[in-house]
C-alpha cells in the first residue's frame, strides 16, 4: 500500500524489539465480541482507479464555469488568481498543524496576523479573529457573544438574513433556551428592525446586502440598539461588497460576521469556507475563536503567537467562550493571498465591476415581459419577481445551459409568497453574451 512505509520484515523486527508476539496483543483490551468485524467495503485501489471513479462522479456535476452562471445567496463565483492555489498547496502551509509551537510556525502566524488586519480594515472594526468555520456558524457565535456581553436572552433576526444563517443561529440559541425572533422574509427591505428592539434584547442581526440583494443602512438600527443597550450584529455574505459599500463598522455595528469565500476560495459545493469575525476592542475578551498577536522572542526580534487563549476550550474547558477548536486555516491563507494581490485598489475595482455586471443583468432581465426587478438598491445580487414559479423556470433554464439563480422556494420552501422570486447574482465572471443568453432564454421560458 503506497501510503505505508513499513513492510512485513520491518513489522516482524519491530515486534521482536518490543517483545510482542503479534499485533493482536496490542488490541487485547478490545472486548472479544467487538473484534474482527466484517466490513462490506472494497480493498485498496491504485491512483488510476480512484481517480477514474471520482472523476466520473465529478463529471455528473455542472461546474459554474461551464456556462452562463448567476447563482449566489451566500456563495459566489469569482475569479481566483493562479498564485493563490499554488501558495496554499505548499507543503509548509498545507501539512502544518495549528501553530502551537510558534518558533517553528511563524509562517502560519504571520499570515494570520496579516489576515486579522485585513479583516479589521475591510469590516471597519478594531479587532478580528483568525476566522470561524464559515459565515453562518460565525453568525450563531456572534449572537452567543452578544448574550455574554449583554447578559440578555432575546435575539432579533432580520427578515433579510439568509434563512440558513437564521436557522443555524436559532438551532444554537435554542440549546440555551434563548428567545429568537425571526422576522418574515423581507423582500423589499421594508421592515424596521429598530422598532423590534426592547430592553431585553441582546442583539439584532441584520445582513447587508441582504439575502435579496438590498443594500441596508445599518446606522439607524445601530443607534436604536445602542439606546436600548443591545448590540448590532452585521452580517455580510458577499465579501467583495466591502470594496463598494460603507463598512458595517462605519455604520455602528458591534460585531461583524462575514463569509469570506468570495476572496480566494472556490465555491466547493458549500465548504470549506472562511468565517470573518470582527468586533470592538472593548468586547475582545468575549470573542470566540483563535487570535494571533504580536510579541518578541528571546533575542528581541518581532514574532507572533496565538494569544488570549484563556478564552478558549483547551485552557478554560467548561468556561470557554466557545467550543471552537479549529479555524479555517488554509482558507484564511487563500483569503490573505488573494487580498494581498487585490489590495484596496484592486478590491474597489473588482467591486465596481461586480456592481456594473449586476446592473447590466438587471436591466436586461427587467426588460423581459413578466419579470420585475424588486430591489431599489443592490450590489451584485438582486431579486426578480416572475409571473411563474421560479423553481420551474430555473430547472427549465438549467437544462438549457443557464444557471439562472436561486428560486425563492429553495430557501423558503414553506412560504408560498417566495415561490415566484428568483435571486440573481452577477459577478465579474459574467460576460455580455451570458446576459443576452439568460435574457433570451428567460423570455422564452416565461
Amino acid at each position: 500500500m503506497r501510503y505505508l512505509p513499513l513492510n512485513d520484515a520491518d513489522r516482524r523486527q519491530m515486534l521482536d524489539i518490543i517483545g510482542a508476539g503479534s499485533i493482536d496483543e496490542f488490541f487485547s483490551d478490545v472486548p472479544v465480541e467487538a473484534r474482527g468485524g466484517s466490513f462490506d467495503l472494497p480493498d485498496h485501489a491504485g491512483e488510476l482507479e480512484v481517480e477514474r471513479a471520482l472523476t466520473a462522479m465529478a463529471a455528473k456535476n455542472r461546474a459554474a464555469s461551464a456556462g452562463p452562471f448567476f447563482v449566489g445567496c451566500g456563495a459566489y463565483k469569482h475569479h481566483i488568481p493562479a498564485t493563490v492555489d499554488h501558495i496554499i498547496q505548499r507543503s509548509e502551509f498545507l501539512t502544518a498543524y495549528t501553530p502551537y509551537q510558534p518558533e517553528i510556525a511563524q509562517g502560519t502566524l504571520q499570515y494570520l496576523f496579516e489576515f486579522q488586519t485585513q479583516v479589521a480594515a475591510l469590516t471597519g472594526m478594531e479587532v478580528a479573529n483568525a476566522s470561524m468555520y464559515d459565515g453562518s456558524t460565525g453568525c450563531a457565535e456572534a449572537a452567543l457573544m452578544a448574550r455574554r456581553v449583554t447578559r440578555r436572552k432575546k435575539h432579533i433576526l432580520s427578515g433579510g438574513l439568509h434563512p440558513q444563517y437564521a436557522a443555524v443561529t436559532r438551532t444554537n440559541l435554542e440549546l440555551v433556551d434563548d428567545q429568537v425572533i425571526i422576522a418574515s422574509p423581507d423582500v423589499e427591505a421594508g421592515e424596521d428592525p429598530a422598532a423590534m428592539i426592547d430592553d431585553e434584547t441582546a442583539c439584532v442581526v441584520v445582513q447587508t446586502p441582504d439575502v435579496f440583494g438590498n443594500v441596508r443602512d445599518l446606522s439607524p438600527i445601530a443607534k436604536a440598539a445602542h439606546e436600548k443597550g443591545a448590540l448590532l450584529v452585521a452580517v455580510v455574505t458577499e465579501a467583495i461588497s466591502f470594496g463598494a459599500l460603507k463598512s458595517p463598522g462605519e455604520m455602528g455595528a458591534d460585531i461583524v460576521v462575514a463569509e469570506g469565500q468570495s476572496i480566494g476560495n472556490p465555491l466547493g459545493f458549500g465548504g470549506p469556507y472562511v468565517g470573518l469575525f470582527a468586533t470592538r476592542q472593548k468586547y475582545l475578551r468575549q470573542m470566540p475563536g483563535r487570535l494571533c498577536g504580536e510579541t518578541t522572542d528571546a533575542e528581541g526580534r518581532r514574532g507572533f503567537v496565538l494569544t488570549l487563549s484563556t478564552r478558549e476550550q483547551h485552557i478554560r474547558r467548561d468556561k470557554a467562550t466557545s467550543n471552537i477548536c479549529t479555524n479555517s486555516g488554509l482558507c484564511t491563507l487563500a483569503f490573505a493571498v488573494h487580498m494581498t494581490l487585490l489590495g484596496a485598489a484592486g478590491l474597489r475595482r473588482l467591486a465596481t465591476l461586480n456592481h456594473e455586471a449586476a446592473c447590466k443583468t438587471a436591466d436586461a432581465l427587467g426588460a423581459v415581459p413578466g419579470v420585475e426587478v424588486v430591489n431599489k438598491s443592490y450590489f451584485n445580487e438582486f431579486t426578480l419577481r416572475l409571473s411563474k414559479n421560479a423553481a420551474e423556470i430555473v430547472e427549465n433554464l438549467a437544462s438549457d445551459g443557464v444557471l439562472a439563480g436561486v428560486p425563492g422556494g429553495r430557501l423558503w420552501p414553506d412560504d408560498p409568497k417566495a415561490e415566484n422570486l428568483l435571486i440573481v447574482a452577477a459577478t465579474e465572471c459574467v460576460t455580455d453574451e451570458d446576459v443576452e443568453m439568460f435574457a433570451s432564454k428567460l423570455a422564452k421560458a416565461i
Partner: protein, 526 residues
Amino acid sequence: MTMNAQGRPTRSDAPTVNAAPTFTGNKALQIEEALIFEVGHFAGTGVDLPEPNGGVDRLGGLNRNTDIGLPGLSEPETMRHFVRLSQKNYAIDMGPFPLGSCTMKHNPRLNEKIARLPGFSDLHPLTPEAQCQGALELIDQLAFWLKELTGMPAVAMSPKAGAHGELCGMMAIKAALEARGEAGKRTRVLAPESAHGTNPATAVQCGFIVDAIPADKTGRVDLAALKENLGDDVAGIMVTNPNTCGLFERDIRAIADAVHEAGGYFYCDGANFNAIAGKVKPGDLGVDAMHINLHKTFSTPHGGGGPGSGPTVLSEALAPYAPVPYVHFEDGKFSLVETRRAAKAEGESAKSLGRLTAFHGQMGMFTRALAYMMSHGRDGIAQAAEDAVLNANYVLSRLKEEMTPAFDGYCMHEALFDDGFLKDTGVETIDFAKAMIDEGYHPMTMYFPLVVHGAMLIEPTESESKRELDQFCEALLSLAKRAKAGDVDAFKAAPLHAPRRRLDETAAARKPVLRWTSESSVQAAE
C-alpha cells in the same frame, strides 16, 4: 586541497568562525520577512482588471467613501512574501510531527487533485439537484463508508470540524431527551478528567453541567466512580476511546451499559478512531454518537489549523434527531432534505435538531477523505491502524530506556510519558520539547492529558518508516541523557536554530497587539 577535473576546489578550507549577525538579519535560507503593510503599495494592486465603464450607481447612497487602507502587492512580491513565510513553518512533509491526539499523517496529493476537479471545486451549493447528482452521490458514498466502518446506522455529514461534530452529537442527545420529556431533569454530563477541552466546552454550549470522572490507576475511566455518579439527572457521558492516554477503555461495554441503564446516552469522542478504524466498530461498543475527524483519521490536511470536518455517526436511538440537510436516495435519484419541515414530511427525521451550518458541510474535505478511503480500502485502513499502533508501541518500547511511561503495558496509537525522568534535572517538559525543535522535530503534545504530570504524548502515526522512528528515538534518548547529565542551561535556551527563539507569550496576552497599524510600523522602524 581536493580539486575536481576543472581545477575547482571541491572542499572548503575556510577557517571555522563563529557566526556573526548578518547585515540583513537573514541566515542563508532563513530570510526575514516584513509584513505586507510594511512593504507599502497602498495604492497598488497585483491583479489586472478591466477598466469599469462607470455611470451606474444603485448602492442606495451607501458608498464606501473612506480609505480601506490595505496594500496591493505585485504578483512576484506576493509570491516571494508567502514563500518566505512558508519556510518558517514545520510540516509533516518535512519530518515527523508526533503531536499526540492530533494525528499528523501523510496527506496524499491525489486527494488534492480530486478536490480540485471543477465538478467538485467549481460547484455552487445551491445548484439545482439535477445538475449536482455526482456531488450528492459522493456525499452518500462517503456516508456509506463511515457507517460501515463504525457499524452505526446513520451519519450527520454537515459538522464543520471535530468540535462541531461533538456539538451535533450532544444536540442529538438533548433532542432525544426533549422527546422523552426529560430534558429539564437530565442536566448533567459526565466526562473523564482526561477529556479534550472541547468536551466540557461543548456540553456547556448545549446547556448541560459537566462533572468530571476520575481515572483509575491504569489511566482508564474509573468504572466504580462513574457508576456512583450516574442517576436520573444524567443526560449522558462523553468518553474518548481509545482515550487521551493512548489506551483502549477496556470496560467500555460496561460503561455503555451502565449509562444506558441509567437512561443516559453515550457520546464517544472519535478523535482517536484512527487507532481502530477497520478493526473495531464503535457500534459494537454501545456508542450512541461519535464524531469522526476526517482531518485526522482520513488524512485531509490540517492546513495550519483547519479547515476540519467532523461527520457524526448516530445510533438508532439518536438517528431521528439528525440535523438537516441530508442526502436522500430514491428511484435512482439523489435529493437533499434541507429544512426541518421537509424532514418531517420525509418521515425519516421527524424531530431533526435543526441546522448546524449553511449549505451541506465540508465538501472539499469529503472529496479528499473518500479518495483516501478508496485508496486504502478495507484492508489498507486496517493495516494503517495496525501500523500506527505498532509504531507507537515501538516508540514506547525504545524510549522506556531513558524516559518514564505514564502507565504500564502496551499503548494504542500514541505513547504517553510523564516528566518523572526529568525529576531534579531542572529541565521541564516544555524545555525538553523545545530542544526537540533544534533536533529537527516538531515537539509532541505537551501537558495533555491533564491527568499526567508534565505529560508528553507522542503519536507517530503509520506514516513513519522504521528508519525515521529509529533516528527519532535516538534523538530523544540523547536529549534525555543530556538532561540527566545536568545540561539544563542548553534546554532552557532552546530552540537556538529555529527561525525564532522562545516567544514572550505573557507580553502578547498582557498587551494584545492583534493587527498592524501605521503607528506600530513606526515603532518597528525605530
